[in-house]
């Protein structure tokens, strides 16, 4: 021990210098990271605040910033935006039902596997894990044809079905993991007091699972809100489509009003960002606890 300190003594000022250099390097890296991270987001705001003519200029900041594009979006004042709020409501509707059904189906099956210890529960767990590992986009073509033959084309319920299908495996993952921290004796005590399985589920299991419900609910909501491919394939009617589909239609139109598109993008992106930051702690705990979907 003394050898170590004696060795270090003469180097002390050097260490301090090194620390300052280290801190300076870290700051430089931090600045680079911030620019790298924020550039596309800055571009969004810049274009949204520009007028149509200024978008097609070589400036790198808005020459004459005005919230006019946002006003157009809010008032549906452009032909591509005529159903904007309707489409926004569709996105919310899909998000709400996805969360509700994912939590309902996920807790039920996790309760049966984890708490009631049903025989062959491991098969269901593996089925969920397998679903989790199959890329959603690879099932899009058969799914599309299947939904058409069920007569569910242009129906938001076909989207809810997709989002629930791809959110439940993660839910089962997290619920089983979290459920293990709740002592089984609580269920048993309730059962001995005469509660039926469904009472135990509602009065013991669900309240104790609340933190996991929040994490999975947030995950399912963001999944449904952000998903594009299935919504694009299955919803083609202007009144049934969701915001991301409408946004992409903008992109493929002949004249792309970039300032309106970016304003629409921002209005669409703000709720999930707020939700993400509100539940960030829980989400990260959930992600590190169970598994991840990139």
């Amino acid at each position: 021990m003394s050898a170590v300190t004696a060795d270090q003594l003469p180097k002390k000022p050097n260490y301090r210098g090194r620390r300052i250099v280290g801190e300076a390097l870290a700051l430089a890296l931090g600045v680079v990271l911030a620019i790298w991270t924020l550039a596309p987001l800055y571009n969004m705001f810049m274009v949204a605040l520009e007028s149509h003519n200024d978008v097609f200029s070589t400036s790198i900041w808005p020459a004459d910033p005005s919230p006019y594009s946002f006003w157009i979006v809010f008032t549906e004042g452009y032909w591509y935006l005529e159903y904007f709020w309707h489409q926004y409501a569709n996105s919310i509707y899909i998000g709400f039902w996805t969360v509700f059904l994912t939590l309902w189906i996920g807790t039920m099956v996790s309760y049966s596997i984890g708490r009631m210890r049903i025989k062959f529960g491991w098969l269901l767990t593996n089925a969920a894990l397998l679903t989790y590992l199959v890329p959603a986009s690879f099932l899009a073509i058969p799914f599309y044809r299947m939904m058409q033959s069920y007569g569910l084309g242009n129906n938001v319920w076909s989207i809810i079905a997709v989002e629930v299908t791809f959110a439940t495996p993660y839910a089962i993952f997290i619920f089983q993991q979290y459920g293990r921290s709740i002592p089984l004796e609580l269920d048993e005590a309730a059962r001995i007091d005469g509660a039926s399985p469904i009472q135990v589920y509602f009065r013991v299991y669900l309240p104790l699972m609340a933190p996991a419900l929040v994490a999975v609910g947030t995950y399912a909501l963001l999944l449904a809100w952000n998903e594009y491919l299935y919504q694009f394939l299955l919803l083609s009617n202007k009144r049934s489509m969701t915001v991301p589909v409408a946004l992409a239609q903008f992109l493929n139109s002949d004249e792309s009003p970039w300032n309106y598109m970016m304003a629409t993008s921002i209005v669409y992106a703000i709720p999930p960002v707020i939700i993400y930051y509100l539940f960030r702690g829980r989400m990260t705990a959930g992600l590190t606890m169970g598994g991840v979907k990139g």
């Binding site: 491991w122 899009a140 952000n226 993008s265």
Partner: protein, 305 residues
């Protein structure tokens, strides 16, 4: 790193024989009926929306002639090369940078915490708006990137998306890294924080600091987590449709498609669903080993992801 496996093989080995379980001796009668009933919604969803589409897809793409046609198609050949480059470069560069950056975010100080909040934004913001924004940034004449190049160097920037296959593919991969790196950084950061501080202290006494501490302490402890993350990320990236679709759209001249976008193009733009399914199914030789390996890893590994 806890010792619990991610997925428990429920029912096979009850951890403790409780009073209630021994009184009852397993599920019986109405109990059993309830347990079954609770599984029905999930089993229904699984059969209707996973098993059925998978079987239907296999049936759609079962004809060998489709694969002959596919493999003779130069666009498909390019797509396979693109997909491999996308997976090998995109995933590995992203994971390696995420590993390094997770170390950076272990630093103390208020501004590092603040930066982390900003840094996770690409992950928090939905993919579509940012991809559309990046698509516009890469515009040759009016995009932000070429405007900055002009302002700084007074030269015209390249046509990122419409002249060269490699520039376009590079743009797709860079965007992919921008979007996904924060998420994996957070995961690896959590992995790093789970390493007990005493280990670092012991290593420091033994003289391991800086890079040697990383090589001999941090990395061996995180190697398994890093491997599982890389494999998972590979499989998710294989199914990534949005990045290529919105950044390059497969262009120029259909040269930057990946399998996920080519399948959709074949099925819906040229209306040949069988061919689209075949394109997707041709990824199975890569997918099946990955899935088996991951199922094994996630169930048995000591790592809690």
């Amino acid at each position: 790193m806890a010792s619990a496996s991610v997925i428990e093989v429920g029912g096979l080995q009850p951890r403790r024989r409780s009073l209630f379980a021994s009184l009852r001796g397993g599920l019986q009668g109405s109990e059993y009926a309830w347990a079954i009933a609770f599984c029905i919604p999930y089993v229904g969803v699984f059969i209707a929306f996973v098993v059925f589409p998978v079987l239907y897809g296999l049936w759609l793409g079962h004809a060998p002639a489709l694969y002959v046609e596919l493999f003779n198609d130069p666009i498909y050949q390019q797509t396979v090369v693109n997909t491999i480059l996308y997976l090998v470069i995109g995933v590995n560069v992203k994971m390696f940078l995420a590993l390094l950056l997770s170390g950076f975010f272990m630093r103390k100080g208020w501004w590092v915490k603040g930066l982390l909040m900003v840094y996770v934004l690409p992950w928090a913001v939905p993919a579509l708006p940012t991809f559309i924004s990046i698509h516009w940034m890469l515009n040759t004449e009016w995009g932000l990137i070429n405007n900055v190049i002009w302002d700084v160097f007074h030269v015209d920037g390249p046509g990122w998306l419409d002249t060269s296959r490699w520039l376009a593919l590079g743009s797709v991969i860079t965007t992919y890294i921008w979007k996904n790196m924060p998420f994996w950084t957070v995961i690896l950061l959590a992995g790093r924080m789970a390493i007990p501080q005493e280990l670092y202290e012991a290593a420091e006494v033994d003289g391991a600091t800086g890079i040697r501490r990383f090589i001999h302490v941090s990395f061996p402890l995180m190697a398994n987590l890093y491997l599982v993350c890389t494999l998972l990320s590979t499989i998710f990236t294989l199914g990534d449709f949005n990045t290529a679709y919105f950044i390059s759209g497969g262009g120029p001249a259909l040269s930057t498609h990946v399998l996920a976008t080519l399948g959709i193009r074949d099925a819906f733009e040229i209306a040949r669903p069988q061919l689209g399914v075949a394109a997707v199914l041709s990824a199975l030789p890569l997918m099946i080993p990955l899935v088996i390996l991951l199922m094994h890893k996630l169930r048995t590994s000591e790592v809690q992801l």
